[in-house]
């Protein structure tokens, strides 16, 4: 297995140019929304709206301004699949359509997926959606096809400010930690890394440098694996089955079964 690869996204240098979105769409031949007839969302400069089956990169525009708009700041962030080390989508997929690659990334095999949408409900980041062209669940592949021939993913290649950086996870973590230290030194004490260590789902192979709470960026503060509920929920269900069985037993008891004797036709 090759060394784990991924993205480190430094949101402080993102300029919202959406080159990553365009490069992703171009390389992966993703169709346009609504046949290319776009409508304005009314949400800042964000007309992509969300990550889904045909948008595998999404630049978020977060406006933090005072009421009179004299003071404020933009938070910009290019969102993408997190390629979690403990991936919820991969865990629940009932067809094994979702696989972990030799680069430790998570890829949906479109020819195997049958569109049950369990992965959509499981993903803690709301990344996956159905691609209407293939009618299967789709998301960022971290350009698996490019990685296999030694190329860099299209989005990070296109990023003009190196907000999106691609590389081995260990190298990216080093770079990210240095950048956080640099920001702290220059007075931006709010900078921190989201998902860079193993505490969050075993580590996100696409992690972020943020300067506000995760929820401000639309990221869950405490993402969890769906399997956390498997054992307790199953035990409660078995308990329910026993209760119902006992109620049935008490209501039908003291009668032995005999065969083929009927009073009704």
């Amino acid at each position: 297995m090759a060394e784990p690869m991924g993205f480190y996204t430094d949101t402080t240098v993102c300029i919202g140019c959406k080159a990553c979105e365009v490069a992703c769409k171009e390389w992966n031949q993703l169709p346009a929304t609504n046949g290319g007839v776009n409508t304005l969302s009314g949400d800042s400069y964000d007309n992509t709206r969300t990550l889904d089956g045909i948008h595998w990169r999404h630049v978020k525009f977060i406006e933090q301004f005072t009421e009179d708009r004299k003071d404020g700041r933009w938070l910009l962030m290019s969102d993408v699949c997190k390629h979690c080390v403990h991936a919820a989508c991969l865990e629940v997929c009932p067809t094994n359509a979702i696989i972990r690659t030799e680069f430790d990334t998570v890829v949906i095999q479109s020819d195997t997926c049958n569109g049950c949408r369990d992965c959509i409900a499981a993903c803690p980041f709301g990344v996956i959606e159905i691609n209407p062209a293939s009618n299967t669940a789709q998301k960022c592949t971290l350009c698996y096809d490019r990685l296999q021939v030694g190329m860099e993913p299209a989005c990070s290649k296109a990023c003009p400010t190196d907000s999106i950086q691609f590389g081995t996870i260990s190298d990216l973590r080093n770079r990210a930690e240095k950048r956080v230290a640099q920001l702290h030194q220059s007075g931006e004490k709010r900078a921190y890394l989201y998902g860079a260590d193993e505490k969050m789902l075993g580590g996100l192979n696409s992690f972020y440098l943020l300067v506000d709470k995760p929820e401000v960026y639309g990221l869950p503060p405490d993402p969890k694996m769906p399997s956390r509920n498997l054992v307790p929920s199953s035990l409660y269900t078995i308990f329910g089955a026993i209760l119902v069985g006992l109620i049935g037993l008490f209501n039908f008891r003291d009668r032995g079964a005999r065969e083929h004797e009927e009073v009704q036709p």
């Binding site: 769906p226 329910g240 069985g245």
Partner: protein, 300 residues
């Protein structure tokens, strides 16, 4: 998304809608009525056998409908078999930790047991000329073994759907571990209600009909307790029901649980219609309950 009561609020909706609501309803009926039929077979009087057969008559068509609904809900329905066989290796596809994977196998196996019981019931009542399948029903050894295994599978089919919802990251569904418990209790109540309706329509007066009605009342009372436990276990996420869904939930509790219970305790209220009204309301309540749980999360 500031102030979201749970990290589950950052997820996307899988668009499990009407087909899944109906599947949960018919799946509950299939598993529940099979199980009740098995109970009647083992513990009922000989004259209760027609009522037990009703359970099997309900179970098989319901599981058949369930399979069709689930297949239609797939975005690629022709690939339904990918749930059971890996298309690249043709090896069996089985993940015990994925409720959907385990559920697919349970549906297949339960479908088989349900079909055998259906055939046995038809043969026993001489609705088909082929009488041999009668031995596939209790109390014979083969029939008893089939009934026990089928009953356990029926329970699984009736309850796993709640576990399936819990093993996601969606609001409400994954914020409580009690949906499987709620669904299995509800499956028993709606199945008993449908069997009562069937028996009443056929103008039977088998002794176990009274027992079945009494059992249904107990199970509906249990359902109310479990539903309260679900709301409590949701904690801050329970605020998701402070809207029309909450109103509908209250209406469901009233018409699908409290009124049927009241009708059970006050049997003279509606005279001859008491039993059927109560059973019909329980069925309606069971359907609405599933609708609220599925759609109120989808709406977030």
């Amino acid at each position: 998304m500031n102030g979201a009561p749970s990290s589950t609020y950052f997820t996307a909706s899988p668009d499990w809608e009407w087909l899944i609501v109906f599947y949960f309803f018919f799946g509950g009926l299939a598993g529940g009525s099979y199980f009740l039929a098995v109970l009647l077979d083992f513990f009922g009087r000989p004259e209760d056998r027609p009522l037990a057969r009703v359970g099997y008559y309900i179970s098989f068509p319901c599981i058949l409908i369930s399979g069709i609904l689930l297949t239609l809900d797939l975005n690629r329905p022709l690939r339904f078999w990918h749930m059971l066989v890996e298309p690249n290796t043709f090896q069996p596809m089985f993940k015990y930790w994925s409720p959907m994977s385990l559920g697919s196998w349970a549906l297949l196996l339960f479908g088989l047991f349900s079909f055998i019981a259906f055939l046995g019931a038809l043969a026993e009542s001489r609705r088909i000329g082929w009488l041999e399948p009668r031995s596939l029903r209790p109390p014979g050894a083969v029939g008893s073994v089939l009934a026990v295994i089928g009953g356990l599978l029926g329970f699984y089919v009736a309850g796993y759907t709640g576990v399936l919802l819990a093993v996601t990251n969606r609001p409400i569904w994954s914020d409580t571990p009690l949906l499987g418990l709620l669904f299995i209790v509800s499956a028993a109540s709606i199945s008993a209600a449908l069997m009562i309706l069937w028996a009443d329509r056929s103008r039977w007066s088998v002794p176990s009909l009274v027992a079945l009605h009494r059992m249904d009342a107990w199970v509906v009372a249990l359902e109310i307790i479990v539903l309260i436990a679900v709301v409590v276990s949701l904690g801050a996420v329970g605020r998701a029901w402070l809207n029309w869904w909450g109103v509908l939930l209250l209406i469901t509790v009233l018409i699908g649980m409290i009124i049927p219970l009241a009708l059970y305790w006050r049997r003279g209220w509606l005279g001859d219609l008491n039993l059927t009204t109560s059973a019909a309301l329980v069925l309606l309540g069971g359907f609405l309950l599933r609708l609220i749980i599925v759609f109120s999360s989808e709406a977030i």
